[in-house]
């Protein structure tokens, strides 16, 4: 994946929280909840020097868009934006930003958690960790094959019947 990627939900450029906040501003939403995931200097006890994230661009963009829509519908929140960075990231750099805006805070908290966890469990993104000695390994992840069940809180609610 050497080509530069610029899709709404994945980008190689550093993530800009300010831009996401400006794009989602709404006068009817009193609650803004944000999650940002940054590169840690350690993982399971081992020092980490940097990371490389890769993603299947078209599929990942489509799946993240679906997670945004599910989040808005299931938690009745007007705004949910998810952006993931790919490429090489240094310690402290931000890999994912999720922004939720809602009239009230309870649904903003619940929606934020759902959106973040769903992206981590379902988006086709892979993290390769690099260690100070120059070695690397792919981080053990979440299986997205049929037959592997997501945790309960990430299961979709049954669609409401139109009666």
């Amino acid at each position: 994946m050497n080509q530069s990627v610029t899709l709404p939900h994945i980008q190689q450029q550093p993530l800009q929280l300010d831009a996401l906040l400006a794009q989602t501003e709404r006068p009817d939403c009193g609650a803004l909840a944000i999650f940002a995931g940054a590169v840690r200097n350690h993982h399971e006890g081992a020092a980490v020097s940097h990371l490389i994230y890769t993603a299947h661009p078209a599929l990942c963009n489509k799946i993240i868009a679906a997670i945004e829509q599910e989040t808005r519908e299931q938690f009745n929140v007007p705004e949910c934006r998810i952006v993931h960075r790919i490429g090489e990231l240094q310690i402290g750099e931000v890999a994912i930003v999720v922004v939720v805006r809602a009239p009230h805070r309870a649904e903003a908290f619940a929606a934020l958690r759902y959106a973040v966890d769903s992206t981590k469990h379902r988006a086709p993104i892979w993290k390769e960790e690099f260690y100070p000695d120059g070695s690397s390994s792919f981080v053990a992840g979440c299986c997205i094959a049929d037959g592997f069940e997501p945790p309960d809180h990430l299961k979709l609610l049954p669609k409401k019947e139109n009666t």
Partner: protein
């Protein structure tokens, strides 16, 4: 003679490392399904251990093992994901 379909396999994440390539081109019989391509990949001893944890996509659609493959399809091999 049976007609053949050309299928490009795209390896993602650790599967590219195990396969030693980002893609492989397979010739499969017309009517072959995802399961037939996976059967073929299983012949690669380095890759085969990872395949039970993999999902599959054609283009940007997730597909099951019984999804029929068309000539020119790009089949992605998606190991467990670790974004965020």
């Amino acid at each position: 003679m049976e007609s053949m379909n050309t299928i490009t396999i795209r390896f993602w994440g650790i599967t590219a490392r195990l396969a030693g390539a980002e893609q492989r081109v397979l010739q499969l019989s017309a009517g072959a399904r995802v399961a037939d391509a996976v059967e073929h990949l299983r012949l690669d001893a380095t890759l085969s251990g990872e395949l039970p944890r993999c999902a599959y996509a054609v283009g940007d659609d997730m597909v099951g093992l019984d999804h029929p493959l068309a000539d020119g399809d790009e089949l992605s091999v998606l190991p467990p994901v670790s974004g965020g």
